[in-house]
């Protein structure tokens, strides 16, 4: 009996010890945890910044693109090929500008679509293995175009057999799915996308405004590939 009582007391004591210990421990943890007071530097007051009104043709960042290797016999497929778009009456320019071979960043070489999700679509007029796609949205100024999505399909309406080969819509704000590709700054050498030899006839390129305004622009799109057998 005494043994049982002793064991019970011991058990009770140990329990109390752990419970109390836990409380004390948690209290001490709470007391020890305080918000780290960081001495953060204040912004430096500086005068009026430079006013940039003229186009800036300089490259903003990064190095020259490394050589990109494609299969022998790869040729430019998109030159002068038919272009359609989400807006048949662009605000500025013509849809044909997208494949006319002119890549100048100056006024008069780009086509401008209104705000929101817009696309241009190139009909390669045949089935091809694609090995490179180069896109120039607008490179007279450091800009990032939002939600750049490149899709291919053999269906001109992009209802069936649609494959996405580039998507940087990381928050799915254009509703074409979350993309894992990175946003990039427009430069005069264009953005190169690797379609990894995918076979298709139609290429569609989406965007949704840019960091400078809500408009969508295309200076040129080049699609390179080889005939599909």
């Amino acid at each position: 009996m005494i043994k049982k009582i002793s064991l019970a007391v011991l058990f009770l004591s140990v329990s109390v010890f752990f419970v109390l210990g836990g409380v004390v421990d948690s209290q001490s943890t709470d007391q020890e945890k305080v918000v780290l007071e960081l001495k953060l530097p204040k912004p430096m007051f500086v005068g009026t910044p430079r006013n940039i009104r003229s186009p800036n043709l300089e490259k903003i960042t990064g190095k020259k693109r490394r050589p990109f290797y494609v299969p022998k016999g790869t040729e430019l497929l998109s030159l002068d090929k038919p272009v359609t778009g989400s807006d048949t009456e662009p605000i500025i320019g013509e849809l044909e500008f997208v494949t006319d071979g002119e890549k100048s960043g100056e006024e008069g070489y780009f086509v401008e679509f209104g705000p929101g999700v817009q696309y241009v679509q190139i009909d390669l007029e045949g089935s091809f293995h694609l090995h490179a796609i180069l896109i120039w949205h607008y490179h007279s100024q450091a800009r990032v175009y939002r939600d750049v999505v490149v899709q291919v399909s053999d269906d001109p309406d992009f209802i069936t057999g649609v494959k996405t080969i580039f998507n940087n819509d990381h928050d799915n704000s254009s509703g074409l799915g979350v993309g894992k590709d990175k946003e990039y700054i427009e430069v005069n050498e264009g953005r190169l996308i690797d379609p990894r030899g995918i076979t298709t006839r139609y290429v569609r390129l989406y965007s949704r405004g840019n960091t400078s305004n809500d408009m969508n622009h295309y200076v040129e799109v080049e699609v390179y590939g080889t005939p599909a057998r």
Binding site: L40, K42, T48, P49, R50, A142, V178, K182, T211, S212
Partner: protein, 518 residues
Amino acid sequence: MNKKTALYGLFLLAVLAALLFRLFQLDMRPMHHDEANQAVKFGILLEQGEYRYDRTEHHGPTLYYLTLPFAWIASGTSFSALSEVTLRLVPVIFGIGIILLSLLFKDGLSLEATVFASFLTAISPAMVFYSRFYIQETLLVFFLVGAVAASWRYTRARSPFWAAASGFFFGMMFATKETCIIAFATMLAALFLALFSLKNHSQPKDTPLLPKISHLFIFLGTGILVSLLLYSSFFQNPKGILDSGLAFGNYFNRAGSAGFHSHPVYYYLKMLAFSQYGNGPIWSEALILVLALIGGVAAFQPLSPGESNPFFIRFVTFYTLLATAAYSLIPYKTPWNMLPFYIGFILLAGYGAAFLVRISKKRAFQIAVVLVICLGVFRLGIQSYSANFTFYADSRNPYVYAHTSTGFLSLVKRINELSLIHPDQSLMLIKVITEPDEAWPLPWYLRGFARVGYWQEVDEAGALADVPLIVSSINKTNQLQTYLEDNHILEYYELRPGILLALYIEQNLWDTFLQRRK
């Protein structure tokens, strides 16, 4: 209704037009780099009661002290509760005050000319644009007009009140912006030139009499007292008084070595006469320039409209010529710097318009002239609407100078959205690593966040791998990537045309954000 009553009615209409163009949608335009600088400086005064004149930046103290009552009424002493509307209301009120003050020299300019000038001040795109801009310029013009008006009233009444009022306005000019010295010098020269030009004038009442010595002391005493009080932060910082004098060395240097603010001699006049950038609209305030030219020529003609005064008109003409020349010859130019001489153009334009109406006594001719001027004013009104409500932050607007892009507000929105889901909310740590001029206006927009640090070098910013949000200049992204251990996603936002900022968002925070959106 007699003619005088009708003219006062039109004057009230001009004040109403000024209100309409200035009061609405004051928060639409993103804060400019300079506005944010002024706002943060004011925030220190608001919250800590501390103001120290900085002789290298920010200009004089009036803007901050005069903002205090607006802030107290709108949001108490909390800087984070302050809004763009409250801050920009200060130049709005003083911009309208310029028009009201002009009534004080209606007997110098003539009531008809004052009414024309009031409409032009109310509607001029440049005057409206900078009346909605939280910097010192509109206040400087207000005090300048006040100084001219009070001095003019003194020449009429020679009372100690107007001597003190004149001293007060000159003191306030000095306490507003260091460039007041250009106005002081050109006003003094214009005074002598106007007196000299009327040396042999047949009507002695047209030339002002010399002030009484006692009034001169009142004038000087008031002016000096006002500037001493403000520059010394009401005697809390006596060094500010010395600095207000030493500042001129700094500003003379800046005027000469203007760097990227160096513009050609014709910069201001060309901007006012004709501007078009890219595929943007044509901007022109040529109506005011042409009417001012007519007014300037009319100042030396015997035919004067209404009850105008040759001395006053010639003073305004000489001041406008000299101040325009002075500001144009200084290499350092920003568009808002033209306001102190542009107000001279507007007053002369009012006089020129009144002169045109009086050229012929034929009623039909007078009505035709008024109609043509009204059409011109209407055209100016359309431009003013475009400049302030359509192209308000568009670099194709000539008055938009190094302005923050509207796309920058998306960065602010993103930071606010992410803070709402972060456990620390407004205590979330944000590190800003940018070139000094690429940090602004972030300090204004992040004023509600308690833990924001600003660095210029990546390696000085401490540990970065777990920081929820990092804002950086584009030229720092390559170096920054090496510190981030691939733990952040990257977004870009435009700060100003051609200048992007990178926003790094910690991956877990981003994943939570996406989940919440679903």
